[in-house]
Amino acid sequence: MIKKLITQNQPVEVDPTEVAILKTLIESNAYVSGSALAKSIGISRTTIHTKMDQLKSAGFKINAISNRGYCLEKLPQNLLPQLLHTYGQALSKDFQLFFYPSVDSTNLEAERLFSNGAKTPFAVFTHKQTAGKGRLGRKWHSQANKNLYCSIMFSPNTPPEKLQSFTLWAGIEVCRSLKALIPSLDLKIKWPNDLYCNGKKVSGILTEAKIDSDRMHTIILGLGLNINSTQKSFPKEIQSIATSLRAETHQSYDMNALSIEIIQATVRAYNKCIESNDDESLSDAWDAFDYLRDRTISLTENGKKISGLALGINVYGALQLKANDGTIRSIHSGDVTLKR
């Protein structure tokens, strides 16, 4: 008899009582007595005690003082599923979160979850990707615990053209969220959606969709954001081209809170496309973050290298390139290289 050796990677199960405790402690930002906690959550004091021990072993620093109760000493900055779910309550009720200690690629895991029946929209998070991927099978360096690796999946079932500028909007909305949190950040988007800080890449987005002639069935937006990596921790070959929020600002960030911000930014971009909300023009929004505008760039199209001046994007999000012969071309895909 052949034994089935392949075991499905299971997401971490999050205890709703632990989430409720964390929520109460974060909101009060002070000592909360065991009896008050027990009463507000509707469980016994003994259970509170047990859950506190579980949270401590999961990495939370909780002070317990008799007569005063419990207090979160310091919020962890590492991605912790309990905290992710606590902040995740700001999302719409139908949005699901899945967390894994390790996966090959969050995009691949999202696809597997969906084919096993998971309902969209949802997001997949992990500490570590063993085969993080970029465009055309390129590798995305995924240092454990320090940076964000997530995939957000939707099933639009709409004509594909409805979402043609989704990833550009996602880049814009993620930039806006990060700028709101860290105003000093010099953040730009290199068309179509790589995020750059001071000329170095801080985030990459790879989106994969399944479509036929009249419908886009599913779309998965995978995002890597370097948060708490130090410059030295990047592999040598990418040290001069990669950066992180920490390397740029000399401080580290709560990855759980940032994760939820990223989801909210992506959902805003998605809804803008689905609702055909054109209150704001894509090219105007783009201009604020355009890394390439008025710079000489080159790229490969149909196997031929072309170069010229970047003029921004058109209404569909295609890059406008003024070629050396004066003609203006619309570019829909390709790797853009900056000429220095």
Partner: protein, 141 residues
Amino acid sequence: MKRSELSEFEFEEDGFKLRLSRQSSNPVAPIMQSVAPINPVATAPVASASAPAAKEVAEDPNVGIIKSPMVGTFYRAPSPDSANFTDVGNKVDADSIVCIIEAMKVMNEIQAEVKGTITEILVVDGDAIEFGQPLFKYKKA
């Protein structure tokens, strides 16, 4: 019509139009014409300039064409090192992924939507593709 001395008669109802005319020297000839668009045959017409293959298809009812639903760059495989999604001689069904069209860094996996065997690949890996451009020819199952 001859008896009634009418030279022309037109009747229209529910998108159906019947027109009879009699010209002095010609025998009476009924001309029927449907106002509503005729249901497209298995393969919809394609701009002939960009798609010479479409004409052949119209002649062979067993051959169909998979066309691009969008503008972008055509890839036969998920990465340069991986196997092609499909090749000549491969069977496909509705859910089979036949290629990727990349646009604005969205890798769009294109589903065949048809059942059959791929007989010809009409574009080259890395080609810039127009909306509606024929990508694959297939023999209907």
